[in-house]
Amino acid sequence: MMLKLALKNFFGAGLRTWLNILVLSIAFVAIIWLQGIFVSFSSRAFDAMIAEEIGGGYIQHKEYDPYDPTSLEETFAPLCEILLDIQNREKATAMLIYPAIAYPAGRMHNVTLRGIKPEQTILELPTEKMAADLGVVPVMIGSRMSRSTSLSEGDRFMIRWRDRRGALDAKEFEVAAVMSLENQSVDSGQIWMPLSDLQKMLQTDNAATIMVLSTEFDGQSVMGRIADDWILKTQYDLTEDLRSLIAMADIEYYVFYIIFLLLALISIFDTQILALFRRRKEMGTLMSLGMTRHQLIGLFTFEGGLYALFALLLGAVYGTPILIWTARNGFPLPEGMDMDSFGIPGITDTIYPDYRFSSIFSTIILSVIIVVIVSYLPARRIARLKPTDALRGKWS
């Protein structure tokens, strides 16, 4: 009975109803789309960080601090037999990190040299390109670095660094490859070079700053047996900053979520409030026919809830193909939009939204609950409505 009356009233209202449904359905689709992008952002940020930078974690020199470039001159040590052994078994790869100054086209840039074995397989980087015999040291840079220094493949440039006695030394490098990296922290200001060349420049054999572990290797298994110059940083430790960044982005996402939903809710709220004023006589009539206040509140809440229901149906009709298409084909970021400025690494040019069933489901449930509450709140006022006032078309 209630259902039939609600449906008749709902569709009897005509164009206005459909506009509300349309707005609400757009909000639903936009929220799910946004969530897909967000999930894709965060999972790709993690994936990129693991693939290009941290692998399964670090065994690192205990003084190593990536945020203090000058300290890098002191934070390396020779590798012991045990660490060399896990490198030989391809469970880890050594990285030597050292500050330097580059002079591409005569301009000065502070850079960080990252020495790594060209044949390594731990990080997903095309390090094999540094095996080329170019007569000078073959190095690789990321595309951001390439843009900021105007260096491209085949370009040669000078490097100066302070050797162990504190004297400045110089050497010529050639860009063997420009890499397309998702993670900007291994790109901006970074020069990747063969480990042996960097060790030679620093006159050390076998020294390193970090052992990057394979994701299958448990660093804890060697920790008791190596010198206490070395400490273990797990994947979890190393992703801490990223996790808090994503938590921040999470908040931004909810702000968008709330804005979208609010837009839709305002139209429903407005309709409900208007209904309470315009439909007073109808309510009075229903009361005179013997409907209780609870039934009336139920009726009006239910009518509001129908917006959510039909918006979901409509959203599903046109939203599903849109969402599937964007998930499959991705969509390019607008020209000039740099994701690094959002502080989230991992996104280069095309975003593939990642829709998870669980998040779609919880989004829908949450949105429907909110719609019903927004319908219910104004309807609650009916409880205070006197039948005589309703029939006269006024509120007490």
Partner: protein, 233 residues
């Protein structure tokens, strides 16, 4: 015979600003089964107020009002709703039909509230639509009907449950002469067939001629209460 409505020393105040306005004062009235009575008086004399109280839509301020033996002051809002649903029919000056429902659905609605089964509902609806002469309009929406037709639907809706009491607040105020007579003859007929007590509020001479009992209200007081011979009925 027991009265369907008993009003004793009843007064109704409305709060106005800081004070109060007395709309009805010291009313004593009884209505028996099958009456065809009217509250007659100028605008503001308290006719609608009295009908609303009798119809359990409002409460009196002082005195006693019993409807079908129930003291209306102690009814919960739920019980009052049930009372209206089962025993009281309303007819309004402005018809008050549900705009998105067809004629059939409008008349059926009170029976749905009473949880009658579908077959019984449809039989009763068709029976009463026959009486008001609207069997050819069952599927029409109110917007497609004339004022007279709308009021006949409203009468059918009020009478379909065969209530003990029918309250009609100026039912002819929006109708022309022909339609008014039409409606009144219909109600006289139903009053006889169903033994429902009809109480009107009106200042329409056409209506007054049909009344068997005429209660004059003046400034919230009963000025006169007279039986009258009914020529038209």
């Amino acid at each position: 015979m027991q009265n369907v409505i008993e009003i004793r020393n009843m007064t109704k105040h409305y709060p106005v600003g800081t004070g109060k306005f007395t709309a009805l004062e010291d009313i004593n009235l009884q209505f028996g089964k099958g009456e065809f009575a009217g509250l007659v008086g100028p605008s503001g004399s308290g006719k609608t107020t009295l009908l609303n109280i009798v119809g359990t839509l409002d409460n009196q301020s002082e005195g006693e009002v019993a409807v079908l033996g129930n003291d209306i002051r102690i009814l919960s809002s739920r019980q009052a709703a049930d009372m209206r649903s089962e025993h009281i029919g309303f007819i309004f000056q402005t018809y008050n039909l549900l705009p998105h429902y067809t004629v059939f659905e409008n008349v059926e609605f009170p029976l749905i509230l009473l949880k009658y089964p579908a077959k019984k509902r449809s039989d009763l609806v068709m029976e009463v639509l026959e009486m008001v002469g609207l069997t050819d309009k069952v599927k029409s929406k109110p917007a497609k009907l004339s004022g007279g037709q709308c009021q006949r639907v409203a009468i059918a809706r009020a009478m379909v449950k065969k209530p003990a009491i029918l309250l009609a607040d100026e039912p002819t105020a929006n109708l022309d002469v022909d339609n008014s007579h039409n409606i009144l003859q219909l109600m006289v007929k139903m009053n006889k067939e169903m033994n429902t007590s009809f109480i009107f509020s009106t200042h329409d001479e056409k209506v007054i001629r049909y009344l068997r009992r005429k209660i004059n209200l003046l400034d919230g007081k009963v000025a006169s209460d007279t039986e009258q011979l009914n020529n038209d009925a």
